[in-house]
């Protein structure tokens, strides 16, 4: 299931974004990058010229991500997991950008990017264990579902507070630059997060120190119930780059190839020492904010329907079918295979034991101080809670 993006040194001639002639003269151009046209043909201006196999592979990941999302919502509704926050409708943004990062580039996630982590090679089982918070979960069920960590795949650790990953991604890439290492960081956040302190500090540092950072703003229209228009009076979110002296670009966030091209260009610029880029992807959160949210309370069904017609998976599938690269049979086979794999993972995760009581006290510090030893003893000797571990 692994999908390793190609590195520039190994880059086949057909895999890479257009290099010259597209850099806007101004920091932020008016253009919205788009590659897949409505008629299914490709606009050559920004076509990243990925191989057919690569596009099919990325499409497959978009489908898998959606199937996993769908199943996790069901598991939450059945009370088998506590929570899920997904990426329905944002698959092209997440997979297109993650695929454009080179293997040595680090990803600093928000909380909707499990597809990126699976693409990087994290086993599905490890993700599902996190969703169940069991003893096989590397974080021992300490965090909520969808708060995973993925260091082996150059992937950060999810936390809930909005925006905190942004400055960290800047510092990480900055440190690599100091050490003259060839890597960039790709940091994800929603348009709501552009109102946070961290976004402004991060973009400012990135500009001042010319760090190799790609700021990926998923403009999915909503921050829970607050519409994007309430976050900012700027004409676009990409415009915010101007104030910090970094580049800003906008792209069709439901067009895998456009997101890939925009991200690839930003990564390559960062790698060449040309500094940071803020990418605004225009997309839409088709689901509620999370399983705790009912979007009917604040947005119109007509708006959702309009975006459903721009569904990123459907669009890419249309293109692939037109080229004879995909079929209904392939779709069914992929769906079945993913569902089976997922069912197996869920079975294993549900059978796994809850984390041990001791695990609660581990990793607070590198070594257990006296007071935590004492508290651990008290817990172990004391009576158990009703519903322990569930």
């Amino acid at each position: 299931m692994s999908a390793t993006p190609t590195t520039p040194s190994q880059k086949p001639a057909h895999d890479g974004s257009a290099k010259n002639g597209h850099a806007p003269a101004a920091l932020v151009s008016e253009e919205v990058i788009r590659v897949i046209r409505d008629d299914g043909s490709l606009d050559p201006t920004w076509d990243p010229k990925l191989s057919d196999e690569r596009i099919v592979e990325l499409y497959s990941w978009m489908v898998k991500t959606r199937i996993v999302d769908d199943r996790l919502v069901t598991l939450q509704r059945q009370g088998r997991i506590g929570f899920h926050i997904g990426s329905l409708g944002e698959e092209a943004t997440i997979l297109g950008s993650a695929a454009a990062a080179r293997p040595q580039d680090w990803i600093f996630p928000c909380y909707r990017e499990f597809g990126a982590l699976l693409l990087r090679g994290m086993p599905l089982q490890r993700y599902i264990d996190n969703m169940f918070g069991n003893s096989n979960d590397p974080v021992q069920g300490r965090q909520m579902p969808d708060h995973y960590t993925g260091k082996p795949w150059n992937f950060g650790s999810v936390s809930s507070p909005i925006g905190t990953q942004i400055t960290q991604a800047v510092g990480f890439g900055w440190a690599a630059k100091m050490k003259k290492d060839d890597l960039a960081t790709l940091v994800y956040f929603g348009e709501g997060a552009t109102s946070s302190n961290e976004f402004h500090c991060g973009a400012n540092f990135a500009g001042v120190f010319k760090t190799p950072t790609v700021f990926l703003c998923r403009n999915n229209g909503w921050a829970i119930s607050v519409p994007a228009a309430r976050q900012s009076a700027s004409k676009t979110f990409a415009d915010k780059a101007i104030a910090y002296g970094i580049r800003g670009v906008r792209c069709d966030g439901n067009d895998l190839l456009a997101v890939y091209a925009a991200t690839r260009e930003a990564i390559e610029r960062a790698a060449r020492g040309e500094g940071s880029t803020l990418i605004e992807t225009l997309t839409y959160r088709l689901s509620g904010h999370s399983t705790s949210d009912d979007p009917k309370a604040y947005r119109k069904e007509a708006e959702v329907e309009a975006w459903k017609s721009k569904d990123p998976n459907t669009r890419l599938r249309g293109f692939l079918e037109k080229k004879g690269l995909w079929s209904a049979e392939k779709q069914t086979a992929l769906e079945e295979q993913t569902s089976n794999e997922l069912a197996e993972c869920v079975k294993v995760a549900e059978k796994a034991a809850p984390p041990t009581l001791e695990s609660m006290f581990e990793d607070v510090f590198a070594e257990l101080p006296w007071h935590l030893k004492e508290q651990r003893e008290q817990l172990l000797k004391g009576p158990r809670a009703k519903g322990h571990g569930h």
Partner: protein, 324 residues
Amino acid sequence: MPQMNMVQAINDALRLEMRKNDKVVVLGEDVGKVGGVFRVTAGLFDEFGDDRVIDTPLSEGGIIGAAIGMALYGLVPVPEIQFSDFIFPAYDQIVSELAKFRYRSGGEYVSKLVIRTPVGGGIRGGHYHSQSPESQFIHVAGLKVVCPTNPYDAKGLLLASIRDPDPVLFFEPKRIYRAAKGEVPEGDYTVPLGKASVLKEGKHVTIVSWGAMVYEALAAAEQAGAQGIDCEVIDLRTLWPLDIDTIIASVKKTGRVVIVHEAPKSCGLGGEIVSLINEKAFLHLEAPPARVTGFDTPFPYTLELEYLPLAHRILPQIVETAQY
């Protein structure tokens, strides 16, 4: 009298005060059209409009800083922080500014606002939707801190908080938002700040608690009663400045005290209460004052029921303290 839960009672208090005083404004993330993620501000947007019930950009520093500015101009803002775990981007404004305005300007400026925020665990929220940071605000001179545990108190304390001359942090225990129900008078009344409530009188052991754990303390007290231990249960209601007289009077009567709170043990408010008891009632003590609290770890997800100081952990401590 209408039956209400905590959410309805707090909503009722906001509506009543907003009708009465056009200086009162509500602002925060998702508080407007949708009425808050816990629906505490439901319906206020429709009644009072976008000028007084304001969906803000996603910035706690912006919400509290702007609310302070509004207050300096003479409004009475009641900002909501969606979860108290997300109050920290506003910590600078609260600690460096809000808490010190009166003092640093010699009373020339007063920044009067009430910050409402859900607190505590019990909703399977993991690290960042469960914490109890009250002592991090009590340690800052200049803030009053309130935490109601039933609908009657929630409405009365919120009205008192809005009318109080000082800034108030109003912590709402989310575990009991809908579970705690009771009769709530229609119309205006207040529950005074700084007064604890003795929920159950008893002569053997004093239990001091607040927030959602008050119900656990009551359950444990009932179980202890079956073993012949008669507990007195105090609900602090106002965490700071606390009702020292009620605590000391009770400890002088029982000579034994157990303090129960969800927040981590070390440097929690329980430690301060123990010190005060030592200072003011040392010679009346028959047993060392004890604490049953959350552990000194981040708040866990799967093991949340083992982390919380629920009745099954309180009861053994009551017995130990009673038999000491």
